[in-house]
């Protein structure tokens, strides 16, 4: 856009600050690479027109161009609160989720964006790349699989970088069509679980590989007894808790016959949510395990894609054994969840 046009629009905006000319003005400044001014124009416009999705989308795209992923995510979250089906927001959040290592969420958002705009080849390529990495991840945690995944991840990274670069100038989404339910993306919602954290911990240099493959644990004959084959008589209990703190599998029945699993799950799922909140400030990556030692028990928790696995053990059970039990229960829970039993 010619400099005369930018000048004319800036004068128009100065004369009428409520004018929507801030949108093309900020787009023009963005296209010229004048990011600080583009952001100032866009943010003031978005604060005046807080109900406009295109205004918040513009703030997000400029923030992304500036490398401010937190602002980009917050602005796209605003967009989706106003219009849950806004495709560009799903595109942007999908890319951010990939960068954050939250592959399943990245896939969901990119899939939605691809559905909204089948002609967006960048989204399609990014979605294909993410799905390949997910497939490699789910194929197992062996070193060879991880090494293969690293190759796929590198390809995905370059595709995602290209997608981010093109997202800076993405146009508004095409008119909405009948679409599957849009994934929620509000910043602050409990994070979906990330088995890729486990995969990353298996990378060479961070974990000593076990040359003897561990036997695969078999699930119990019902959800309530899912972990029985692992627990046996080891004075431990295990629960799979969903994102709402409800018990999805496992059970905890006391000696006098009371089922306290629901209560335990509800109380401790809140600790997982607190951990999510804390990690945003700790800058230590994703949380992978939580340990609570009390007078009567050792409790360990680990996140899954959509909740957490909790193991509670009597204090006489060695800590390392509790950890091993948790690892096995998490692996079993992830397999079981995919089976949809």
């Amino acid at each position: 856009m010619a400099g005369d046009d930018i000048h004319a629009m800036s004068e128009q905006l100065a004369a009428d600050p409520a004018s929507l000319v801030f949108l093309p003005l900020a787009e023009a400044l963005l296209a010229r690479g004048d990011l600080p001014r583009a952001q100032r124009v866009a943010q003031r416009g978005a604060s005046r027109h807080a109900g406009r999705t295109d205004a918040h989308d513009l703030v997000a795209r400029i923030a992304l161009a500036q490398g401010d992923e937190a602002q980009a995510e917050a602005s796209w979250a605003n967009v989706l609160q106003l219009e849950p089906g806004f495709g560009t927001a799903h595109r942007g959040i999908g890319l951010l989720r990939y960068r954050q290592g939250r592959l399943d969420e990245a896939r969901d958002h990119l899939a939605y964006a691809a559905h909204q705009d089948p002609g967006d080849n960048v989204v399609r390529a990014a979605l294909d790349a993410v799905q390949k990495v997910i497939a490699q991840r789910d194929a197992g945690a062996s070193i060879s699989a991880t090494a293969a995944a690293a190759g796929s991840a590198a390809t995905a990274d370059s595709l995602i970088d290209d997608a981010v670069a093109s997202a800076e100038a993405a146009s508004s989404v095409a008119s909405s069509r009948a679409a599957p339910a849009a994934p929620a993306a509000a910043a602050g919602e409990p994070a979906k679980r990330r088995s890729e954290a486990t995969a990353r911990r298996s990378e060479p240099g961070t974990h000593r590989p076990d040359p003897t493959p561990a036997p695969v644990d078999l699930p119990g004959d019902s959800p309530a007894h899912l972990f029985d084959n692992i627990l046996e008589d080891s004075k431990q209990v295990a629960l799979l808790i969903d994102a709402d703190g409800l018990v999805a599998a496992g059970n905890y029945v006391t000696g006098d016959g009371r089922d306290v699993g629901s209560e335990l799950g509800a109380h401790l799922s809140g600790v997982g949510e607190e951990a999510e909140r804390a990690m945003r400030h700790f800058k230590l990556g994703l949380w992978v395990r939580l340990v609570i030692e009390t007078e009567a028990a050792t409790i360990e928790m680990a996140p899954t894609d959509r909740g957490a696995v909790l193991v509670a053990a009597s204090r006489e059970v060695p800590l390392g054994f509790v950890r091993r039990t948790l690892d096995r229960c998490v692996a079993l829970a992830r397999r079981w969840l995919k089976e949809g039993t």
Partner: protein
């Protein structure tokens, strides 16, 4: 120098420890501590104390008694805490830290709080 200097010193001498803080459990405010440059002590103090409190309430409600030790392990480090008498001693550590040794140190340090 404060009354907590010896326990803080004992914790920080472990390799991989980036910060050692004594924090008021209810307020999440730092009472005393030391940290490497760039470590956000206020955030670690407030949020770890909050986690410790939440874990205490949850474990207590579930009938497991009081919490003596808490640990949050993440991809690039961990936060470990042990509490007593309304105070919590917190260590922020890199992945390379000897977890078993540091845990023992923290539990021992908490007994002196």
């Amino acid at each position: 120098m404060s009354q907590f200097t010896p326990v803080i010193t004992a914790v920080t001498k472990h390799r991989g420890v980036q910060a050692a803080l004594v924090v008021a459990e209810e307020d999440g405010i730092v009472v005393d501590g030391t940290a490497h440059v760039g470590v956000g002590t206020n955030a670690f103090a407030a949020l770890t104390a909050s986690l410790y409190r939440k874990a205490s309430r949850g474990a207590g409600a579930a009938g497991f008694g009081t919490v003596s030790y808490f640990e949050l392990e993440a991809e690039r480090g961990r936060v470990m805490a042990a509490g007593r008498n309304g105070l919590v001693i917190i260590a922020v550590a890199e992945p390379r830290v000897n977890v078993g040794l540091l845990r023992v140190e923290l539990v021992r340090a908490a007994e002196s709080l």
